[in-house]
């Protein structure tokens, strides 16, 4: 079966997001959605490296929603065919590989995030608007 890269990104994000309600409390799900909506702008303003490092730091303080968001992006970038394929995680790829891979990874993370944002809003607990 041949899928476009957009379909592959969507499938990856969908599978990941649909599994989250088993791991996150409703409040944590709301926090995940808020962070997912903010991440593309953060990447745009500060670069992929700074944005992912920020999520990693937050996630290390037992903030499960940040941990999951970091893991999602990092896992995708380390998939076969992706800029950091074969690396243990995205920060390893960011710090060990060259500028053109970094630029590809940033572009890739942003297009992935447009799916993540939508699926998070669709399938996770929502803030009362």
């Amino acid at each position: 079966m041949t899928q476009t890269i957009q379909q592959q990104r969507a499938a990856f994000a969908l599978q990941y997001i649909k599994a989250l309600p088993e791991q996150l409390e409703p409040d944590q799900q709301k926090e995940f959605t808020r962070n997912a909506c903010a991440l593309p702008a953060m990447v745009h303003m500060n670069g992929l490296g700074q944005a992912l490092a920020f999520c990693r730091v937050k996630g290390s303080n037992d903030r499960e929603s940040y941990k999951q968001l970091y893991q999602l992006v990092s896992d995708w970038l380390c998939q076969p065919g992706q800029p950091y394929a074969g690396k243990a995680d995205a920060l390893e790829g960011i710090t060990q590989m060259d500028m053109s891979h970094y630029q590809l990874a940033q572009a890739e993370a942003l297009v992935l995030m447009s799916w993540v944002k939508k699926f998070a809003k669709a399938f996770l607990a929502e803030d009362a608007a």
């Binding site: 909506c37 991440l39 593309p40 702008a41 990447v43 745009h44 303003m45 942003l110 447009s114 608007a129």
Partner: protein, 294 residues
């Protein structure tokens, strides 16, 4: 039909948000871009609207020249009588200001942008005489003067190479209104692919919120991200004027163009483009480059 043409340079003095409407991507309110290159632009309809708004402010809505130049008011009964005699092109990106870790900001452009500028000049009969840069390596940048240090643009490091840019600087200075000495110090030419990357990601994105006036806290759900072109961006726009299409009191092409270049922009060479006018956005300094044709 003979036409009179001008290239007008637009040098943004404040942030500019020519919005593309909503987005399904990461940024909620992105700016207008060309589909094939993703370079930022301002659509011709937006530029024409800004020119007309300025003209109506200055000369009054019922001024007959406005009808000849821009066409009859679309709200009036005569809207279908004839078209305007002024053709306004998209405002195209020429120089993108990019922050640099180790220097004052740089005005960045690339061979593809410069080559297109020359093609636009040829079409309009406005000579833009400078040599296009040679091939550039992706890890390098061309500068008029180098100081031996690598250059950082955003978070990327480039090695520098000196290039003879005198003619190009003169042309770009005339087109934009930026001093030659300033351009010499700040003009940077990068590989087309690097430019594409910078023009996507070196724009500014700001978070906006709405405050509930009673509680002075953020209204629920009122958070959005808005992209703008930063101040110091340089765009240019093609104007072509034809004889007016109203068959009774016809104005020749040169008079139509003069309505814009002299009467409208001559005394106050500023134009407000794009949205968020009431928070100071969209103010451009206008430079006019004209070449009279027979």
């Amino acid at each position: 039909m003979t036409s009179n043409n001008a290239l007008i340079g637009l040098w943004t003095e404040t942030s500019l948000h020519a919005g593309a409407g909503g987005s399904v991507e990461g940024i909620d309110l992105p700016i207008q871009r060309e589909a094939h290159s993703s370079w930022p632009c301002v659509y011709g309809s937006a530029v024409k609207g800004a020119l007309r708004a300025k003209a109506e402010d200055k000369f009054g809505k019922d001024n007959t020249s406005i009808k000849f130049v821009f066409g009859p008011d679309s709200d009036s009964d005569s809207a279908s009588e004839h078209a305007g005699a002024l053709l306004v092109g998209d405002a195209r990106l020429l120089l993108l200001p990019v922050r640099s870790l180790n220097s004052h900001f740089k005005w960045v452009t690339c061979p593809a942008i410069l080559e297109r500028l020359q093609r636009d000049g040829r079409r309009l009969g406005i000579p833009l005489d400078f040599a296009l840069p040679q091939k550039i390596d992706k890890t390098k940048v061309l500068l008029a003067e180098i100081d031996g240090n690598d250059l950082f643009l955003e978070e990327y490091r480039f090695s520098t190479e000196e290039a003879e840019l005198t003619n190009m600087v003169q042309t770009l200075s005339r087109l934009s209104g930026i001093d030659e000495s300033t351009l010499t110090a700040q003009l940077v030419i990068v590989h087309n692919d690097q430019f594409n990357y910078l023009s996507r990601y070196a724009t500014s994105v700001a978070a906006h919120i709405a405050i509930d006036n009673n509680s002075k806290t953020v209204r629920k759900g009122a958070l959005w991200y808005e992209e703008t072109l930063p101040p110091e961006t340089v765009l240019y726009c093609a104007l072509s004027a034809y004889r007016s299409r109203d068959d009774k009191n016809s104005l020749p092409a040169d008079a139509i163009l003069n309505c814009i270049t002299q009467d409208l922009l001559g005394a106050s060479p500023y134009l407000q483009l794009g949205g968020n006018e009431t928070v100071g956005m969209g103010w451009c300094k206008v430079a006019i480059n004209q070449h009279q044709q027979a």
